[in-house]
Symmetry: C2
Subunit: 157 residues, 2 copies
Amino acid sequence: MYNHQPKDEPCSICIFLSGRETEHNKRSDIVFEDKNTIAFISPKWWINNPGHVIVASKKHFENIYDIPDNTLSRVYVIAKKISIALKEAYQCEGTSTRQHNEPAGNQDIWHFHIHVFPRYKNDDLYKRHDQSRFVEAKQRLPYAQKLQKYFLNYQHS
Amino acid sequence: MYNHQPKDEPCSICIFLSGRETEHNKRSDIVFEDKNTIAFISPKWWINNPGHVIVASKKHFENIYDIPDNTLSRVYVIAKKISIALKEAYQCEGTSTRQHNEPAGNQDIWHFHIHVFPRYKNDDLYKRHDQSRFVEAKQRLPYAQKLQKYFLNYQHS
C-alpha cells in the first residue's frame, strides 16, 4: 500500500540480510538478532547522537501500512530492548524512536525499520536534522561492541 | 525505570482518561478507543503537520523502559491503524511516528505515548521543531471529525 520502492532498486536491508557486506552495513554492526528481527548500528549518524540503532524485520515489508501486526509488534519489542541497552551501554540521558513512511515522511530505505536514538541534553536531534552523515565502519565498531557486550552479559544473567 | 514524573504533578493523560476535560484535551478529540488504548488529536501541533494524533496506553506507564511488551505492541498496532487512517482521511503524502523517553529525549508528558504525524513534501517537521504551539479545541475539531468519520465507515465496511 502506498509503495515507492523503484522497481530497479534492490533493497539494501535485504542485501545485508542475505549476508553481503557493504561499506554502510558490516556484520560487525549487528548488535541483536533473532528469528524475525535484526538490530544494527546505523551507517548514518546525526551530529550529537552517535551510534544510534536501526531495528528491522527480517521479512521485507516497505512500510507501516504493509507490515503485519505481529511483525510490527515484534520489531517494537526489540526496539524497547535496544532502548534499555542504550541506557546501560552508552549511559545516555534519554532515548527516542522514530519511523518514516514514504518520501514525504522522510523514508529513503524501502524496508520497514525503526531508528532508536541515544539522547543527550540539548542534543538538538530535530533542529539539526540536516547535519547527518554516513560514517565509516571503524567509527561504528566501538558502539556495536558496547551493545554486543551488554547483550552477552544480559544473556548470561 | 529512569522515571522523571514529579511526585506532585498529576498525569495529564490519566486525568483525561478519567473523563475530565481541559482546554488541551476534550472528549471530542478522541478518534479511536478500545479496552487498552486511546487515540486523540494532539493539543500541540507542529507548523506544517496540523491534526497529528497521540496514541497512548490506558494504563499508566511512564516510558518505553517500563511498558510491558504486550501493551507496547497493542499501542503500535493502533498507531499503524491511525497511519492508514491519516492517509485516507487527510490525504497526506506520508506518515511518521516518534516516541520520547526522559527529558533529554524530548519527553514532557509522563505517560507513554506515540506521536503519529501526517507528512507532506517539504514540511520540515524536524528542522522546524521549535515552531510548535498549542491550538484551540475548535481548531482540532475538524481533524477529529475526519478521523471519526473514517473509523465509522471502517467499522461498517
